[in-house]
């Protein structure tokens, strides 16, 4: 069972992610994670004031169940299938991170410099996390989808709008790591 705790090869996981999307299509649904953010907003009853949230979100309850399953999967994988050899990224990348003052993975999924528990004592770190989330939430709704909805679902169905969105994702990402990271870290 050792192979399960190693980093899964991209071809296996890519195939399984494609199958997840096809399963949802077979169930008569669509694969898109950011819709759940809209559902969660609507769940608060805000739809009475903002019409964008006054929609049939209850028909999207299945998607919230997918999210619940994904959270359980994340728990299971990190607690029972992890190994100290995980996240062995390119040594060159680790050097670049060092220059930014960001700790090397050493088996961790996310860096302490950004997500460590000391964020609770640092307004700057909290601001970065909330702001990053804000860009993700605002951007995905503006673009009408995220990595799952556009990059996977949309491109699999040869959708030109999705290609524009995905090119946008990459331009944004490249600007962030090349020009903005040196300013904030």
């Amino acid at each position: 069972m050792d192979f399960l705790s190693q980093t899964w090869h991209w071809s296996i996981s890519g195939f399984l992610i494609g199958m997840v999307m096809l399963c949802l299509i077979y169930f008569g649904k669509t694969f898109g994670m950011s819709t759940n953010l809209r559902s969660l907003c609507s769940l608060t009853g805000i739809g009475k004031r903002v019409s964008f949230f006054n929609w049939d979100w209850k028909s999207q309850r299945w998607n919230l169940v997918v999210v619940l399953g994904a959270m359980m999967g994340g728990y299971f994988a990190t607690h029972f299938l992890s190994s100290a050899t995980n996240v062995s990224i390119n040594p060159g990348t680790i050097l670049k991170l060092q220059k930014l003052g960001i700790d090397a993975p050493n088996g961790k999924l996310i860096p302490d410099a950004i997500f460590g528990l000391d964020v609770f004592h640092s307004l700057k770190k909290i601001f970065l996390l909330v702001f990053g989330g804000f860009l993700i939430g605002f951007g995905s709704r503006y673009a009408g989808g995220c990595t799952s909805g556009h990059a996977i679902s949309g491109l699999s169905n040869f959708q030109l709008p999705s290609l524009k969105a995905v090119v946008g994702f990459f331009i944004g990402g490249l600007i962030m790591v090349n020009f903005i990271f040196p300013l904030i870290f």
């Binding site: 991209w10 890519g14 399984l16 494609g18 199958m19 997840v20 999307m21 096809l22 949802l24 077979y26 008569g28 994670m33 950011s34 964008f52 949230f53 169940v65 997918v66 999210v67 399953g69 994904a70 959270m71 359980m72 999967g73 994340g74 728990y75 299971f76 990190t78 990224i89 390119n90 060159g92 993975p105 999924l109 996310i110 860096p111 950004i114 996390l129 990053g132 989330g133 804000f134 860009l135 939430g137 951007g139 709704r141 673009a143 009408g144 995220c146 990595t147 996977i152 699999s156 999705s162 524009k164 969105a165 946008g168 994702f169 331009i171 990402g173 600007i175 962030m176 790591v177 090349n178």
Partner: protein, 137 residues
């Protein structure tokens, strides 16, 4: 139970994204530095699998689980919203290293500080909804 199958699909999704480290901030950074093929391999294999599956569904008129024809809706036409929305999303994706799926997966895995990212994402979604009609699409 009707909803169990969604829980199972979600569970598989969560395990796969965690074990292939697509939920890892490091992998996203490495991808945007072009230092590894890993993330590109995942995305391209997922798309290739999807293309084959969708073509099979279309050519053979595969019915869904309830016996209904499968209609895969196209995305709305437009340009501005996709470029600009995509760009904004990409800035956030690279900054916190997670897209909407991984935000939930990481919280499930017990990374409490990702809760701030979720809060921001919900707030961003709300602000979009509030200003939707004033934004160019």
């Amino acid at each position: 139970m009707n909803l169990i199958k969604y829980l199972v699909v979600g569970f598989v999704f969560g395990v796969v994204l965690t074990k292939t480290e697509a939920v890892s901030w490091y992998r996203i950074y490495e991808m945007f530095q072009f230092d590894s093929f890993h993330m590109y391999g995942i995305i391209m294999t997922a798309i290739a699998t999807g293309v084959v599956g969708i073509q099979i569904i279309k050519r053979f008129n595969v019915k869904d689980i309830n016996g209904l024809p499968i209609a895969i809706l196209g995305k709305e036409r437009g340009t501005f919203r996709y470029w600009i929305g995509g760009l904004i999303f990409g800035l956030g994706w690279a900054l916190v290293g997670s897209c909407p799926g991984p935000i939930f997966i990481l919280i499930g895995a017990g990374f409490v500080s990702v809760g701030f990212v979720l809060f921001g994402a919900l707030f961003g979604t709300f602000i979009y909804g509030y200003f939707k009609d004033k934004l160019p699409h």
